[in-house]
């Protein structure tokens, strides 16, 4: 699913080129469920953004689903984000003025689905994440856990091959975290590839493999949790 070789990322800070990723080698198999752990500032989010085509690597090779992404232009990356990838963010990142239904419909707007189909599909997915009775609520009228479930529904709605979740439970309490993790586990069982960044070991242990990032590099002591 994902092959990365010697991925580097530098940020320009004024005159300085600050290296954040220093040569990441990473491979994730189709259908795999991985957790990425590491200290704050180690480069996990930067890595996730590159995996998710939100950002470009400074150098290195990245192949997603057999497609070499380094050669694609912005519109093609937009298409891949739309069709292949679902994002779940720590801060939910919902449109605050739109309803749950409208939020979930949004990826299909950019995917070119007709309105009626969008509404049906978004409703279906919201039912699936247990929010069938909250279709017309705005984010401010939902709890944190419910908002994150809307975000998951939005990530799912275009049937992506890959779901990327950057600290999805970071803003949630224990109980709602478990609800969200339960949803991700279900998706994994359906064969969707999932990568999740987390600080919490017991969250990470719900994945099949833990990848450790430290100071811009992937550590070798990758932790396989499936026997």
């Amino acid at each position: 699913m994902i092959q990365m070789q010697r991925i580097t990322k530098n940020y320009r800070l004024g005159e300085l080129d600050v290296p954040v990723l220093k040569g990441i080698d990473l491979s994730i198999a189709p259908g795999e469920y991985v957790a990425i752990m590491g200290m704050s500032g180690s480069g996990k989010s930067t890595l996730m953004n590159i995996i998710g085509c939100l950002d470009r690597a400074t150098s290195g090779n990245y192949t997603l689903n057999g497609v070499d992404l380094t050669t694609l232009d912005d519109d093609q990356l937009a298409y891949i984000r739309n069709q292949q990838i679902g994002f779940v963010f720590q801060q939910f990142n919902l449109l605050t003025r739109s309803t749950a239904l409208e939020n979930v419909m949004l990826p299909m707007v950019y995917g070119g689905l007709p309105l009626a189909q969008r509404r049906d599909r978004a409703t279906e997915v919201l039912f699936k994440v247990g929010l069938g009775d909250r279709l017309l609520n705005r984010p401010s009228q939902l709890s944190g856990g419910q908002q994150q479930r809307v975000a998951i529904a939005r990530a799912l709605v275009n049937d992506p091959a890959l779901i990327l979740a950057d600290e999805p439970t970071g803003a949630l309490d224990q109980k709602t975290s478990q609800e969200v993790m339960g949803l991700l586990a279900e998706l994994s069982q359906q064969g969707i590839t999932i990568a999740i960044v987390t600080h919490e070991p017991d969250i990470a242990h719900q994945a099949q493999r833990i990848i450790y990032v430290q100071d811009g590099l992937v550590l070798n002591r990758s932790h396989n949790l499936v026997s």
């Binding site: 953004n49 998710g52 939100l54 950002d55 997603l64 689903n65 057999g66 497609v67 694609l72 232009d73 912005d74 519109d75 093609q76 937009a78 298409y79 891949i80 984000r81 739309n82 069709q83 292949q84 994002f87 963010f89 990142n93 919902l94 449109l95 003025r97 739109s98 409208e102 949004l106 990826p107 707007v109 950019y110 995917g111 070119g112 939005r154 275009n158 091959a161």
Partner: protein, 421 residues
């Protein structure tokens, strides 16, 4: 996995973008309302100003038109015969014969009417009185000035020949002397002398050289008898005469002929000054018309400036809203919005806001114009071109004001946009 080439990446259809724009505008009513306000006031002002300007112009034209746009007024001027100026009034430089010869010899003249005029004269009926202008004239006056009785009739040739004491009242004089009763057949007094009212003129409204409604018309012979004790017309001095031509474009030629004829009759050779003045209504109209249209252009320019200010206001609010909506743009991009999708969303929002604002502005402008035309009693002139221009202008300003903010929104890096807070 198949990746479309970049120019085949999906961008929402125009209808789709339009719907998004409406949703987005509806979800932030305050911002939308403020943005529209500039447009409403700008377009409203442009429409109101042009409509009031044109209405005023039309009103002046109508009034002067009603006085006759084919009329020359020739008035006696300072006599300078023998090099001694005798001043106006003391001895008129025009005689009844001048008018008669003009009528006979000026080929461009359709009708000519001589008159004597006395201003500030008291007219009394019963216990009421008013101060007005007495005009002694002949039967042609009605035709030349295109003013006809609404009640009764103008005096007759017989009454003129016999120098009878009959009077035709201007509508304003009638209103001042008589309340409800029919004035026809009743007697009024002019300087103590009785006159029988035989007619009341239609109203023409104030305008031109003198207010025709604020006049009393009596036979020239009668007036002459009062003033000089001679009711035979031949030889009497007159205040002037009015002359009409068949068509407006004959007026200049008629003026030329009248001038030459009178100079000849009065032995005036350049560089000697004429002893008469000719007032040309067409010149009056065009002078007044020019002043009003200049004024209209000026005020429209001011309104245009307010429109530009409105446009800058829109650009400003759009720009602020891009900053405020950076996170939204980031979210949309993360979910697959292309650069052109964001660009068209913001552009369409700007255009929709200003078009709706412009539309409301048009309605608002029409409303104010109607009010102004009622308040100022001028004709209501709302031309399609100012409405079309107003709408086109608002959409144009929307595009102009929206382009830069839309471009900066579209250019945002998704990751930078998402990180913003």
């Amino acid at each position: 996995m198949s990746i479309p080439s970049s120019n085949h990446a999906y961008s929402p259809s125009m209808i789709e973008v339009f719907g998004m724009a409406i949703d987005s505008l509806r979800s932030n009513r305050l911002r939308t309302g403020l943005t529209m306000l500039g447009m409403i006031i700008g377009i409203g002002a442009v429409i109101t100003v042009t409509s009031v300007g044109r209405g005023a112009q039309k009103s002046v034209e109508q009034q002067i038109e009603s006085l006759g746009s084919n009329v020359l007024t020739v008035m006696a001027g300072a006599s300078s015969r023998g090099g001694i100026s005798q001043g106006t009034g003391s001895a008129s430089t025009l005689t009844w014969e001048d008018a008669k010869v003009v009528a006979e010899q000026v080929t461009m003249a359709d009708a000519v009417s001589a008159y004597l005029q006395k201003v500030n004269t008291q007219v009394v009926y019963d216990s009421k009185n008013t101060t007005t202008t007495i005009i002694g004239t002949d039967l042609n006056y009605s035709k030349v000035k295109n003013i006809y009785p609404q009640q009764g009739q103008f005096f007759t040739q017989d009454e003129l020949d016999a120098a009878l004491s009959v009077a035709v009242l201007g509508s304003k004089v009638r209103d001042q002397l008589f309340s409800q009763e029919n004035a026809i057949g009743l007697d009024i007094r002019i300087q103590g002398k009785r006159y029988r009212v035989v007619g009341v003129m239609e109203s023409k409204g104030a305008g031109g050289i003198q207010d025709q409604d604020d006049s009393v018309y009596i036979p020239l012979s009668t007036m002459s008898a009062e003033l000089v004790g001679n009711n035979a017309l031949s030889g009497i001095a007159i205040t002037g005469f009015v002359l009409s031509t068949q068509a407006t474009d004959q007026l200049d030629a008629a003026q030329f002929q009248v001038s030459n004829l009178l100079r000849l009759r009065h032995d005036i050779y350049p560089p000697q000054a004429d002893d008469f003045n000719i007032i040309n209504q067409v010149n009056l109209i065009s002078t007044l018309g020019t002043i009003i249209s200049l004024f209209t252009v000026m005020v429209t320019a001011i309104a245009g400036i307010s429109l530009v200010v409105g446009g800058i206001g829109i650009a400003n609010i759009m720009l602020v809203s891009v900053v405020e909506r950076t996170r939204e743009i980031g979210i949309r991009k993360a979910l697959g919005a292309t650069r052109s999708a964001i660009l068209s969303q913001f552009l369409v929002e700007a255009v929709v806001v200003s078009a709706i604002g412009g539309g409301i502005g048009v309605v608002f402008g029409i409303g104010v114009s109607v009010g102004a035309s009622l308040a100022l009693s001028i004709p209501l002139v709302i031309s399609a071109d100012s409405i079309v221009a107003g709408l086109a202008l608002s959409v144009g300003i929307g595009v102009l004001a929206g382009v830069i903010p839309a471009q900066s929104a579209a250019k945002l890096d998704p990751i930078v946009a998402l990180r913003s807070e």
